[in-house]
Amino acid sequence: MNTILALFPLLIIVVASLLVMILEAFFKRENRSYLAYISFLFLIAAAAGCVKFWNKDYSYFDGNLYLSNLSLFFCFILIVATFLVILISMKYLTLQNANYGEYYALLLFALSGMIIMVSSSDLIVIFLGLEVLSLSSYALTGLRREDEKSNEAAVKYFLLGSFASAFLVFGIAFLYGATQTTAIPSIIKELQSGSSVGTLGLVGLGLVVIGFGFKIAVVPFHMWTPDVYQGAPTPITAFFSVGPKAVGFAVLLRIFIPYFQDALESQLMFGLLWIIAAITMIAGNLIALRQTNVKRILAYSSIAHAGYLMVAILAQDTQSLVFYLTAYLFMNIGAFAAVIALGKKDHEYLELDDYKGIGFRYPWIGATFAVFLISLAGFPPTGGFLAKFYVFSAAVRQGLVSLVIIGVLASLVSVFYYLRIIIYMYMKEPSYEVDINIDNPALFLALFLCLYGVLQLGIFPGNILVLIRQAVAALPFL
């Protein structure tokens, strides 16, 4: 149905970010956490909108903005992610002396960009959303102005991100040249119809993959990830590891799942993505083994997880992809929340050596962190296991047995470095005192919500699976 209501979630978020930006001027620095509360209100309103519009199929701008169930589901999990990220940011910003009002505004702008991306299937609109997301991301990365690492990360991210955007635009232009359209379904139809499109279309598609490959951080387009993840403020790292990845995959699945249905035409791209998935899983996990900085470990782990998600794309199974993203959201933000929890004024504990004995000194934080790590490693009964189970199961159904074997062996490697953090937390005696600021209710709420999410998805995922099934029922999305 064509109605302006389709803009509701997006507009709410945009209004929220503008409001926060204006109000910032009126709050003293100590009181900036009110901005977070205002953001929460708007996020809840937007989320309620997503729930309300379920099964309604609203669209606007000639269908260029289309709230299918799948889009709504993505919007919802992105809103949840932002919500959690703001929760974990509140105290962090004060402690790390980065309490700038534009923080929340930028975060909400990024969210609005992501909402645009997941609710459109026109490449130009998607590109608009991507740029809104990217520009806010660059600024967020460099938020800690006095910190060299943060600045370096911002510049790196900006340069490589611009390149990626350029590749993407270039790819869109090629596709337009080949097919005379920017709407994904029509492009796919043209590509499948055969020879007239030919090389031009394939090159275009390849460039689009490169563009999004940067955003979702798959090997070999992952080089920026560790530095940016390490340099950015930790809540923003959590945000990067989930948000852009989710939207990147939301777009890729719109392109490739219909495209792969014609196995013959898509052979080349299929092979390419197969290789990307395999090396992402292998390299991401292997390099993570050598890291000693927890943020970097989590950065490489997020690269590896992009590999597993890529397997879901190759398996052409939206359901498992969406489930994986949902589980990944909770466990990864949870892990970062635990990292943030182990911080004090002007200092974060990020080296593995800092984690010695943490598990017994701070049993609750230690235990929840351990659960998130166990989930990331894919042990039952957590969401991480079920997510891997679904993805690999879908891949086996498509006959991708060798890719699945690579996947499980890569995740064996990952077990080592996830458990390594646990070893430091529980099995080594601390060599020096680590004292942290534990007066942080918002953060603990976030930890609790993530823990709940991970366990709910691992043990009783029934309801969410039903929702996801409804969301993907409307394939191919238009």
Partner: protein, 529 residues
Amino acid sequence: MEIPILSIVTFLPLAGALLFIFINRDKENLLKYLALFISIATFIASLYLFFNFNAQTPDPQFVEKSPWIGYGINYHIGIDGISLYLILLTTFLMPIVILSSWTYIQKRVKEYLIFMFLLQTGIIGVFVALNLFLFYVFWEAMLIPMYFLIGIWGGKRKIYATVKFVLFTMFGSLLMLVAILYMYNLFYKATGTYSLNIFDYYRMILNPSIQVWLFLAFGLAFAIKVPMFPFHTWLPDAHVEAPTAGSVVLAAVLLKMGTYGFLRFALPMFPDALKIFLPVLGVLCIIGIIYGGLMALIQKDVKSLVAYSSVSHMGLIMLAIFALNMEGIVGGIYQMLNHGLSTGALFLCVGILYERSHTRMIKDFGGVSKQMPVFSAFFMVCMLSSVGLPGLNGFVGEILCLFGVFKANKILAILAVTTVILAAAYLLWMFQRVMQGPITNDRVRSFKDLNLREIIYLTPIVILMFWMGIYPQTFLRKMDVSVSNLLNQVNRKEAIFTEAKKENNPPTYIFMEKETKTDSIAKEDKESQ
């Protein structure tokens, strides 16, 4: 409504663990007594299973089924004559293990007990699960508490040992996961319904060329767990570094998960592949028996001696199971229980020595029996039970195993007998060096004999050793029907594809008709979707 007794046995420890989270860590005595109480309650609940078990039917009993996630993933548990005893063994040992760590564990008692209970739920879950997914969940989930038990309360090289343990086991089980997914998918293609019910897979007989791969995947996971030579290297490390209670659980129950896996999954699902690999497996078992025995002979550390004796004994159990006849498999299962008891008891004895001396080196002891006559008696019974002295449990099991192997292959049987000879050699020699002779080390003079608590937890084991040795019928008769049903399955299925192979193009899979009322819930599943 019936009482879901099996679920209670499985999840009571988990409930205990959850309860413990909210108890203050300083109340150590409360924690310990509560733990003892919960573990005894679990044992009593499991006795209910034993007394109400119907020995006449091969079908799973105390079955509980309810939909869980959908797509064939259901909560489906039940036991038969094979799993019954393994559950009893687990619940029987848990109170003993908790008593044994009463003073041994001095730091972080609360976490220790929580992990113990999580471990127990995981292990029992493996034995009761009748759904492949559920089985896998327990199989993997059980690694985590064991990882912490070794890693936190272990010895000097604990981190190395625990990481090795987890990675070895994970390696096998991840490949098993791929195999499970493959079968899951194949079943779906064949029938149009999703199922992970193991009885559905019993009915689906696969082409041997596929069976081979699946058997390798499953077999590797189980062989690592058993452990069979050459996948045993994690075992001595894990055993030596683990705290006493961890070693006991590891030896007594965890290793049995591997043999149980062979009996429950690898044998009835892939009989043709099994027949193909039998020669290799047989040789590996024999190597394991002899190698384990010889290694045990040269160990300087009592604990690693017992660990290597496990490798040797488990080799005999696997060999007996691969004999694929009634005596062999019954003997194998019986020997699993015996090994659980006697090796568990030996680890307890080593633990008792270690608590007094803080060393496990054989050369540091000598003449201990003069100082500790009561302990000496207990230790001797446990040791002789492991050697296989007639009148004790080990003898019955070993004789049955060897009968079974002899029936299947005489040469292997002759080689397998070395296990008894070697066991006698390394255990008696160890006993002599540790317990007898003059006291060479002055520290030994300060050893106190067993206290009441130690006597309390060793006595039930010794009683059971005599009982199982003198009147094995109590236990054996409840296994027979299940085992003969298993053998039937293996033989009948193998025949089916031998028949089909005569044609040129054997199909990928053949479904057997349901001749018994095997409870397929695939249909219900389809409706619920």
